[in-house]
Symmetry: C2
Subunit: 659 residues, 2 copies
Amino acid sequence: MASIAHELAKKQKEISVSEFFEKNKHILGFDSLTRALITAVKESVDNSLDACEDAGILPEVFVQVTKEDNNEYRVIVEDNGPGIVKKQVPNVFGRLLYGSRFHTRAQRRGQQGIGVSAVVMYAQITTGRPAKVKSKISDEDVAHECELVMDTKKNRSQTVREDFVIWDKEHGTRLEVNLKGKYVQGKQSIFEYLKGVAIVNPHAKITFIPPDGGTIVFERATEEMPPPTREVKPHPEGVELGELLNMAKYTEAKKMTSFLNTEFSRISLRVAREILDIAEISHDQRPSRMTLDQAGNIIEAVNKVKIMSPETDCLSPIGEGLIRKSLKNVLGETRASFYAPPITREPKVFGGNPFVVEVGIVYGGQLNKEDPVQIYRFANRVPLMYQQGACATTQGIENVDWRRYGLEQRGGKGIPYGPAIILVHVASTKIPFTSESKEAVANVPEIREEIELALKACARKLKTHLNKAERKSKTRVKFEIVQDIIPMIAQKSAKIVGKPVPDIAGTITKIMNVVWVEDEVTYDKKKHHVSVKLYNYTPKTQKLHVHMVIPFDKVDEKSLAIAPSEVRDGTKVSWDIKKIASTEVFELAFDLKGVNRGEYDDNEVFVSGIDPASIIGADILPGDWDLEHITITEDKAEEASENGEIDYDEGAEVIDDEE
Amino acid sequence: MASIAHELAKKQKEISVSEFFEKNKHILGFDSLTRALITAVKESVDNSLDACEDAGILPEVFVQVTKEDNNEYRVIVEDNGPGIVKKQVPNVFGRLLYGSRFHTRAQRRGQQGIGVSAVVMYAQITTGRPAKVKSKISDEDVAHECELVMDTKKNRSQTVREDFVIWDKEHGTRLEVNLKGKYVQGKQSIFEYLKGVAIVNPHAKITFIPPDGGTIVFERATEEMPPPTREVKPHPEGVELGELLNMAKYTEAKKMTSFLNTEFSRISLRVAREILDIAEISHDQRPSRMTLDQAGNIIEAVNKVKIMSPETDCLSPIGEGLIRKSLKNVLGETRASFYAPPITREPKVFGGNPFVVEVGIVYGGQLNKEDPVQIYRFANRVPLMYQQGACATTQGIENVDWRRYGLEQRGGKGIPYGPAIILVHVASTKIPFTSESKEAVANVPEIREEIELALKACARKLKTHLNKAERKSKTRVKFEIVQDIIPMIAQKSAKIVGKPVPDIAGTITKIMNVVWVEDEVTYDKKKHHVSVKLYNYTPKTQKLHVHMVIPFDKVDEKSLAIAPSEVRDGTKVSWDIKKIASTEVFELAFDLKGVNRGEYDDNEVFVSGIDPASIIGADILPGDWDLEHITITEDKAEEASENGEIDYDEGAEVIDDEE
């Protein structure tokens, strides 16, 4: 036995990080020829976009893939970024775990210092050829061009050739590699990846020359850079005890109060003192003397003290407006019947890292009813193409009971079926990917919970739309029957009793006994025309309040015949409708000017001040405007609805049951 | 711009591998509290089992989890392995990417030198407490005990306390760590993980003391170690060009022939010469002088030359018998109606690594018809608990059209529904996991293809079973109707025409016109009693051959009334049945002795020498015995069946159509 232990001991040795990844190239996204080619483009483009944004440059990225031989392709990615100084080129492109962003907390596409070096390594493993890098920084006249090979035993690269060359470009970087791959079309392709990039990066111009020729250009949709994201300190929520001890060991702060105040975000000196008091630690203690018990006490105290949510300027969500616009741009051909208003949640924290979740849903049109819903996943503005099943976004979707929201789902679990696309974007100063290939978000409970809340909030809007559509179609059928049959009964009866046919308008309204709301948006001559018609099919005169969510500053004043009774937050507009006589119709109409086509195409109409049972075609305003429109209370609504306390969707359906 | 490039350059720095994993602990399986606790147990137990097997010791592993405080648990894992020499303890438990198995090609649970050090790191991050390790090797009197802390900035551990202690144990290792976690029951739990370990490691004894008390013992089911697996050289198939160049650079061989012969498996000197001739390279060339073009030529030549499949003694599949037995042991309570004979495929190769795929299917009983099938995944005898959706095994299952094999599946894609469990085991000298948490097999095309072929082969057996059951039930209904109605018609007709009721036995056989085969296995007095009854419901005398797959050496000679006409491979047994008169029944019966209960519980009966259309209850022998029983030709059968050339399943169904 002893000899075995000694023998085993002899075999023990260190593994270099590049040897590790060389042997585990599938972890980096190189598990098949098809994926390898996409990964190579993806890592290079991500790098280019990050470099441009770091330098405040509107990105212009050029991608070319050419077929060389058999399974060998040449991938070229060129950007107009700030360039890379000569001595860093071998590190950036030929050394794994080397980078500028690992030790910072900021929303970036690349963080690990692995991606593009992995491309160079994979290229070399599969074709034996060096990578070619050209880079120019703007205060130099010439570009520097070199060829690199990687020594995976040492995790260092070697420059096999270098030169200064003229480059007709202000600044930028160009990478060329030859690698084994397979070029395909379809759902998982370079084209789809670049299209996804364009959706969530409207400030980037991307040109793509595929191996079969032709040039595809994704034009810039905006000349504005996304607001720059700030680097932040860790948020105290979810910081681990061991990390806290480590931070205390290395801090430059001399006192506990300043330690907490300077090393964390959202801890003011006042909050720091409060935490220390609860933890029973002297304000002046040296951080390096922090004991294990004290660290535990601080962690507990943090949970008891009210700490502000993380700053939002460290995150760059796509935004509700842009999600909608992007989806419409890309999905024009599906002629979807409904784009649910997207949801961008408030930032939350996991393990000290702020993050934000966004969700959008598209429904109907030419999307196939028989297929599972399509899932569009994004993390830090990067489309995720592989490992859908492993992703917290997918798991979030699978955990929602979509039957409640109008989609088919066997047993209320799993990916739902129906004519829908679900988009989920997670933005964070640190995306916890399940592996270095960065294709799936790990199942971190804090993130999954936010995803589920965002999905439910967006799904409720889908459900409201579907309910409305269903109620309208049911009531329409009822109308048709009533309007057909009542006159026939009247005639027949009149004939039998030998009397004249009676006036039956009143009878129809008595039988219907509803106020029918029909709203419409049309677009013409650069204006959106909004019309809300209220049909009083009750035997009595009715009065009610109508509420709409509209950009009120865009309403063409001349077009607005009835002044609103109230306008809140510039978007929540209410009208008092004082009188609609029985069997009469009332129209509320106005135009919107200066709103781009497609940015307003579905009215949100609510009513109040009327018996909910007599309204068809609009929802009753749920107690408080906020219930529908402020994200934070939406959870409460969800909760309440799940506890059976409020259920405005269901409430509305009661009407159907009474028919 | 230049200043930006320079500024960015200043931020570039190296990232230590332990800092990387500290920040990406979710990659190592620590993404939630529940999973963290399971991962800690899993990595430690895997290590223990590997250590025991390396030393040829029957493993005895003790696992205890106690609740300390809030979310803090203490995990203790102790084994009877060979122990670890003192100076290696800090490396094995406190240094990432350090191990003995990375540079070898052999089937092991652990390979990366990450797992157990990651547990120590996670424990320290979350609780700030050191890990305690006790180890004893058999030629020393005392055990060495120490406490370790890890410096993640340096990827080294520091011993904070050490001692020699008396340990009442010959040899072994014990690890104790405190970590933040959450203990749960259910499908993803420590208990289920250990149960899975017991299924595929019947030579191990595992004791588990959960936090809520009690002791669970998984007793050893066999005293035999699995055959030791040999370390192998890479198989030439799938070796990458860059790797080949690298190997040529570092080899000690002086000539190309000996380089190919000594550095690869399955390249004899003859094959080496053949390859070099095709590649037009001199046999005597120094390997270090190999050019890029030459390397490319060798890779091409390898694909043209016939090279033997990899050695099987480097792999340790569970085996068809054991899979069946293990499933029965564990699933006794589901009273499944059918255990499809498991499939162990022939070894194949990906990227130079031999691997083998095994599949088993369980059907019916108390398994829920309405649920998705349950999937049991294993890799190198380790149960996979998480990331099911990312796993090549799951993707293989999703790609099979299960509707062809009798399970429900919407659109012929995705996880099928039905009362079934599907077990998939992948064994390899290198499992390509999607991440360091080792929970999902990467989607490597070679592996996924083998998984699909194995699934289809096993699914065909399920389908045969279901077809047989369905045909029997259909024919039974027909029998009942015919037997009820014909006599009634006879009586009625006789009455009308005023004649006596005719004998209708012949009429019934004319209408049925089938030979009905009914087989049965019962177990009693330590014997399996097998009976195959052949009912001749045709108007003519019949003769036919009956073929069965049985362990012929286990047949009790005294019980066998009819001698077989042929016995092939000791299991393929044929009988000539010379004469069965119309309306008569013939019984073929025998006993099996020395077969454990449950190891023979479903007959495979085939017939030949008779019109296929007149047989019910057995399949026609498909041309060649091999078609059903040798794996390699099964693919061809599958292929042929997909091309519509042969379709024995469908062929049999023609009978139903004719009813």
